[in-house]
Amino acid sequence: MNAAPATPSMLTRPTRIRRVGRESAETFTLELDVPDAPPFAPGQFNMLYVFGVGEVAISLSGDPARRGTYVHTTRAVGTVTRAMQRLRRGGAIGVRGPFGTGWPVVPARGGDVVLVAGGIGLAPLRPVLYAVAARRADFGKVVLLYGARTPDDVLYGRELERWRTRHDVQVEVTVDRGSRDWHGNVGVVTTLVPRASFDPACTTAMLCGPEIMMRFAAQELAVHGVPAERIHVSLERNMKCALGWCGHCQLGPEFVCKDGPVFPYPRVARALLTREL
């Protein structure tokens, strides 16, 4: 067996943490100072290494036009991300990347854009909003449908409000569990699809969240006439090398790290229903 050639992509780069933001009890944002950061496309991810603990794949969630900075929002759910949550401003973290495929922002030009996000899935879609806003005239209607578990779990709350006050972006937020204090929508994110204003035939849809949510959201969009090949999903698997060498993230014939994480839905729809994968 041939050894994989050593490339800079396997080398982690020590990076300074410029800012740590708390989004909710479990969710936080790291802003990394990377003066010579390679540009990234919305939808791509970095491998972040907490020294002495381990490495995980985290999507880029900042503005792709902002050079010298990588922004990552993630949830503390495992050993590495819990250790990451304890990092502070001025601390160091290793970065490899960016890796993977991006959202079809350029092909979406000329038509409507519908983003459907669930939970932490809003983070990988946020760069799309920045990219679309930067060339707003190139797109038709822009819709963000976002579902979270509770009002306390809503990501980027203030930023969502700012997007909502723009007259050229429709933002609809819903939570699974509401209360009297919450004056927004209650119900799953798929219930927002009929309330959104877009032309299905010329819509590009980008979905990110738990796979079950994406599956139902894709079905709902298809029912409303969005062509299947224009529905894209971002998948999450056990990414290790991020280069398609190790096979940990294999999903049928695809390596999620290299061929994804963003896929046209029809390309992975069957694999997502295969229980062993």
Binding site: A148, R177, H183, N185, G187, T191, P210, M213
Partner: protein
């Protein structure tokens, strides 16, 4: 002028309803408004009508002793509120409260039940439409129960 018949025909719930059926249904319809905070339906009371929401937002709630009401779902323009008028014993199972000023068309359930009994074709048409709403709400409830955004244990 915006007639009740036109409003009903434009509402997603009655879209493409045959004109003959629409003419029957409109006889059971009336315009209604609810102020923000006003109770639209109350659990346990007789369910004699249902509402086609045209504007505003309504929260479906379950009252629970010793804690604030639990909001199960919110409904907005273009959606339907209430199917208990269709199913014995014709009592509301949940409260519904207006979260914002609501404009709706109220349809008299007792009146409609009588017309559906007399005209099975109309009854079947209405049942098909409510079955779709029920299926969508059931799927949404199942997804809610899955708690897909929760931390995997």
């Amino acid at each position: 002028m915006e007639t009740l018949e036109r409003i009903l025909a434009d509402h997603p719930f009655f879209r493409a309803l045959p004109p003959a059926h629409l003419g029957v249904v409109v006889g059971c319809a009336a315009n209604r408004r609810f102020a923000s905070g006003e109770l639209v339906i109350r659990a346990g009371e007789e369910a004699n009508e249902f509402f086609l929401l045209r504007e505003g937002k309504v929260a479906l709630e379950a009252a629970a002793p010793g804690r604030p009401p639990i909001v199960i779902q919110t409904l907005g323009a273009g959606e339907v509120l209430g199917w208990s008028w269709l199913v014995p014993p014709y009592h509301w199972k949940f409260d519904a409260i207006a979260l914002a000023p609501v404009r709706a068309i109220a349809l008299d359930g007792k009146c409609l039940r009588g017309k559906c009994e007399a005209d099975p074709a109309l009854g079947y048409e209405l049942l098909k439409r409510f079955a779709l709403v029920m299926e969508q709400r059931l799927q949404a409830t199942r997804l809610q129960l899955l708690d897909v955004y929760g931390t995997p244990r």
